[in-house]
């Protein structure tokens, strides 16, 4: 198979500057963990084009992180919703999203998290949702707190929610973090700033959405996610011309 044929059928290369380099010295943990040799090019094959399928029957959705056993967690209840599309604007349907985060006090319900902040027995910070036929997803949670880390003097991570997506293929796998608008820590966060492209970086910040906000219940944040598209844009009838 020729390279050109691969380019037509594989997933698109990442746009320059939109993905953080693993050699990012300002984030100290990268120092001994980033490979030094260039990555080996791999034209996409059946291995990269296929990927695992998860069905809600076997992986029951957990779309409400804000309560455990019917008891409400402490903190500011929020709704997070958005769509998962590919780079051509096509919905990524019926795809699993895994979610995890710190509690309102900035502490993870994880045995290794030693931050001196209280655990909340009614908050585990674990979720799982599936996109619908249009690529839309939605979950309810508690706004996570900021927490300190030891990357540099007086370092604090901005509020963030971790999201893990699979998409249609092994090569579309994505783990990212959703940040919150107006967070003063964003300007100081080396992890956020490892994304060189400003527009791409800012797309990691959710948008406050009054339309998504539920009166007298929870603020709404919109977070749309884009997964890689196919290498060439097929000229097919999308059926949505206006």
């Amino acid at each position: 198979m020729t390279q050109a044929a691969h380019d037509q059928t594989g997933f698109r290369p990442y746009a320059p500057g939109t993905q953080p380099p693993n050699d990012s010295p300002e984030y100290g943990s990268t120092r001994l963990r980033h490979p030094t040799a260039p990555l080996v090019p791999l034209p996409h094959t059946a291995t990269e084009l296929g990927g695992p399928r998860f069905l809600p029957d076997a992986f029951p959705p957990m779309a409400d992180l804000s309560r455990v056993g019917g008891r409400e967690a402490l903190g500011e209840r929020i709704i997070v919703a958005g769509r998962v599309l590919d780079e051509d604007g096509r919905p990524v349907p019926h795809s699993m999203i895994e979610i995890w985060q710190a509690n309102a006090a900035g502490r993870y319900a994880h045995a290794s998290d030693m931050h001196d902040a209280p655990l909340d027995p009614n908050f585990e910070g674990l979720g799982r949702v599936f996109t619908d036929a249009e690529g839309a997803y939605r979950f309810t949670t508690i706004k996570p707190g900021a927490y300190p880390w030891r990357n540099h003097a007086n370092a604090w991570r901005p509020n963030h929610i971790h999201l893990s997506l699979f998409g249609p293929g092994y090569a579309t796998r994505l783990i990212t973090q959703m940040y919150f608008p107006g967070d003063p820590l964003l300007a100081l966060d080396p992890i956020f700033h490892t994304v060189a492209d400003e527009a791409a970086r800012n797309r990691l910040v959710a948008v406050f959405d009054l339309g998504l906000t539920q009166p007298e219940w929870a603020l709404g944040y919109r977070f749309d996610i884009t997964l890689r598209g196919r290498g060439a844009t097929p000229f097919e009838d999308e059926g949505d011309a206006h």
């Binding site: 746009a15 953080p20 963990r33 291995t47 695992p52 970086r201």
Partner: protein, 189 residues
Amino acid sequence: MPAATSSQTIGPFWHGLAHPEWADLTRHGAEQDHPDRERITFAGTITDGAGQAVTDACVELWQADPPQSPRFPAFGRCATDAEGRFRFTTLRPGPVPAGTENNTMPAGGETNAVQAPHLAITIFARGLLRALTTRAYFDGDPLNAADSLLQSIPDPVCRATLIAPQEGSGAWRLDIRLQGEGETAFLDV
């Protein structure tokens, strides 16, 4: 449309992804769907540029063969332990089509048209802003000599980092070095 969303690190506390049972891809009775396949273990250690164990990594395994079925997820996930070790139980893969056009094996046994049996490995960890991906091939498989990825790596030492030696009956092992001497060949997927 915007470009693909940027990756960010999994961080040290990824309890939302922790499903220890997923390390056993045969847990649903995979042999019932694929009775001709050998059950194997695939294990290894992840170390960093100082030779220290990476104890907070999330290792994922994906294989295009045998195909995913109700009893065989074809996908696994394993946390490294306090010694940086991971261990999967799965079914030994067969050859995988080399092309992208379809998922069927070519007739006539053209060896250039298949890839040698392999497992796709993805590593997420604190300090990795993007996943690292590599592959594990099986030492001694005659198809390795014609595999397009293996043959694209001219340095035999580097190529060898993708080939898992056999440790015993049905037991395969591949140690992964993130950086420095013996650094694993990672793939630009």
